[in-house]
């Protein structure tokens, strides 16, 4: 049986950056999974766009826990998929994002399942999200961005790795 889970690309920031883009994603897999760990220059929330689409073609809902309560939010007709809604990022403590894009190269709208682990030693939380990109295009690039502040950056050393998962 074929081995089916393999890295496609890794990008590690050599200097602070406003966003991180993984481009030229081949369409030869069934799903792709993006794993990101890093910090940001200020406490922010995060977003994701596909194929340079900056239109209001994204939607979200989340489930989160912040150490004292659990909740849920939704965001409709947004310019990106929210990757973090309630727990904001840290300048010093790395957070972990795992983003599964199922049937990313298919002809349906694209659904993302997102896991955020963001413990800040006394604050932070855990969050799970589902995101929708209302486009039937195959995803060929993924952009991670900081949604709440135009000048905030991902810190040096932040790392994104994209894996491809191929079915039989």
């Amino acid at each position: 049986m074929p081995t089916t889970y393999e890295p496609i690309a890794t990008q590690t920031l050599g200097s602070a950056a406003l966003s991180i883009t993984l481009s030229s994603i081949p369409s030869t897999y069934t799903d792709v999974k993006l794993v990101f760990t890093g910090t940001t220059s200020s406490a922010e929330y995060l977003g994701m766009q596909f194929n340079s689409d900056t239109g209001a073609n994204y939607a979200n809902r989340s489930l989160y826990g912040n150490g004292s309560s659990a909740g849920s939010f939704q965001a409709l007709n947004t310019n990106y998929i929210y990757l973090s809604g309630i727990p904001s990022t840290s300048t010093t403590i790395p957070f972990l994002l795992e983003i599964d894009l199922l049937s990313y190269a298919g002809s349906k709208f694209k659904t993302a399942l997102i896991r955020l682990s963001l413990d800040k030693n006394g604050s932070g939380g855990v969050e799970r999200l589902v995101g929708l990109w209302s486009s039937t295009s195959a995803i060929n690039s993924i952009k991670l961005l900081i949604g709440s502040n135009g000048s905030a950056t991902f810190s040096t050393g932040s790392t994104a790795t994209l894996y491809g998962i191929k079915n039989a």
Binding site: T3, N60, K108, N167
Partner: protein
Amino acid sequence: MSSVLGIIASSMKGVSGAYESIATVTASGGQTSLTFSSIPSTYKHLEIRGIARDTLTIDGGVGVKIQFNGDTGSNYVRHNLRGDGGNAVAGANTGFDNIAFVGGSIGDSSTSNAFGASIISIVDYASTSKNKTVRGFSGSEANTSSANFYVVLNSGLWLNTAAITSITLIAGQASYAAGSTFALYGIKG
């Protein structure tokens, strides 16, 4: 020093073939269930990844239901924790005839081309001495303010110690719409 290097080398060797595709099932439209059969016992764990849409004409997320080895008895237990966009809600059932992965599919009155998604892990599936524990992460979103779409954490238990040799994925409400598809992967131990 050398023992550490040995561990690293061993781990890397294992990773190269640790996750393998076993089979894929895809609905052409109208199937009430999709089945993985003749599952080999040579892996440690299983993972199912898929997208689904249901033919029932409702506007909202629906479930994907799972049964093992053709067992239709009341031998399944399940919990879920879900967010509907406004609230976090928990639910549970005992004595059910399936484990439901709430939010893994979408009703047919929902936004066109939107599908629910699921990632389901089945731990130690080939054991002949343990009941089987299942974990799911599923979500349905259709860019609507309806509280009938969800992001969901699912847990389930099959009260049976038999090795799992077949998995039936039942459409949550009516039948699968064309394009619904699930892939089964094996993870080596």
